[in-house]
Amino acid sequence: MDRVSLSLIHRSPDHTVTTEFMLELLAYDFMQRSLLAAALVGSVCSVIGVFVVLRGLAFAGAGTAHAAFAGVTLAYLLDLPPLSLAIVFGLATVWITGWVEEKGRMKLDVSIGILYTATMALAILFLGLMKSYNPEVYGYLFGSVLSVTTEELLTIGGLSVVVLGTILLLSKELYFIAFDQEMATASGVPARQIFYLLLTLVALTVVISLKTVGAILVFAMILIPASTAYQLTHSLTQMTFYSMMIGTFCAVSGVLLSYAFDLPSGPSIVLLATSLFFLAVCCSPKRLHRIQRQ
């Protein structure tokens, strides 16, 4: 069944036909891989996003994504595994960012702005040095979840387990430094080490997500589900749970939409998440409660 006829079936109001459409989709290997990759990326991004949003590291993540893309371009230029150099570039950027914030040498947004543009300039330079046009590299820039290979899925799965496992083990310390790092240090939590660990997890998450949503949009997947959940609850644990649900739902639904309507996958995921965010802002219990009190 071709893509157009599948999308026509999907538009039918008949529930049975929609189920058939889903079963048809899941029969394809590439679609199984894509949905699994999207679910993994959606959940990892949205969970780490909670700490990024609460700790005020949003812009740092955007800079990391561009640095990781510079690593990918250099890897293609040198014929090395792309994700390995993406990790090196991503980690270097977040650690420098963290060090600058810790030392208070300059404002965080200034240092990130410099690194952000410098790594993007490197990426453009490496692209220019390539002898021919390489569509795979652009896949990392814009995302191409439908072309995720089994090896890439295994890498995404492995890194997802590492990131989610670390968050699960150290969630109480991560929550505390997001709330107040100085208070955490004073209370006997090794807050500095936890802060650098958080930055490392952000870099790994960005690398995991590069192939799925692309360097330009990856940070939306970190930021938007967590920001949406932030509108809905006053509890840290609930915020994490809601964020994970929203992130996974948007990633999987975005892939299905992109397939059904022949749209690019990255933007489909991100625009769906953005729509939910605005819906949450309008219906935010916090906001409504504040208005009531006023």
């Binding site: 609460l54 083990l169 150290l170 109480k172 310390e173 929550y175 505390f176 709330f179 107040d180 100085e182 208070m183 955490a184 240090t185 004073a186 209370s187 006997g188 939590v189 090794p190 932030y230 609850t233 006053h234 509890s235 840290l236 644990t237 609930q238 915020m239 916090k286 409660h289």
Partner: protein, 259 residues
Amino acid sequence: MTHPIIRFDHATFGFPGVIALEDLSLSIPESEFVGVIGPNGSGKTTLCRAVLGLMAPLQGTLRVLDCACEELRCHHRALIGYLPQKGLLDRNFPVTVLEAVMMGRYGALGLFRRPAQKDRDIAREALAHVGMDHHRNSALGALSGGQQQRVFIARALAQQPRILLLDEPTTGLDLTAQHSVVELIQQLHRELRLTILMITHDINMIRSRVDRLVLLKTKLFAEGPPQDVLKPEILSQVYGKDLVITDKDFVVVEDYHHH
């Protein structure tokens, strides 16, 4: 005098080229309630950070809980309950009162260990001590400034500390809330026999409540019972001649007194 739990010995703190607190010698025995006063920039917060082990002395020594402050490790810090200066709390920060107080247990628990029922009971008990247990499921941001300070004191108590370090706990509160928070601190001192170091600008509020006052002006200017420290000749040297003591023993700025 009982064994000092905090002991500064000719300790100087600061950064290269900037001395924040010079040649401080001071011993604080267990269970004493000490008020630390002084004008802005006199070294009060430096003293606080030093006790927390966040600043090492440039000269001299500081021992806290029988340990040199530069060697204070996480398990020592977990015994020091700290209430930092009131910052601007994001009223939308998603944390309930109980979640905020539970954070006080995290240092003592250590890495990788999940809070158990016992930790939740300790947090509830700390909330009960400050009269906020009935608010445990409320959003922290929905509370008033005074209630939030009570919650942060409960967070410090949940550490089961030996020392309670309070950095200007009444700043930014209205008069009623200030009074209520200081009453609470005094009550905790009475009931739990904690060693309390309270940094404050509000001399009148604490003068009758502390065992001892420490007056700083980048060095130890005076220390002793409040009546010995709050003398016009001492205060005028630190705050200037506009600060006077009224016939009812209140310390005021002269211009205000005359109006």
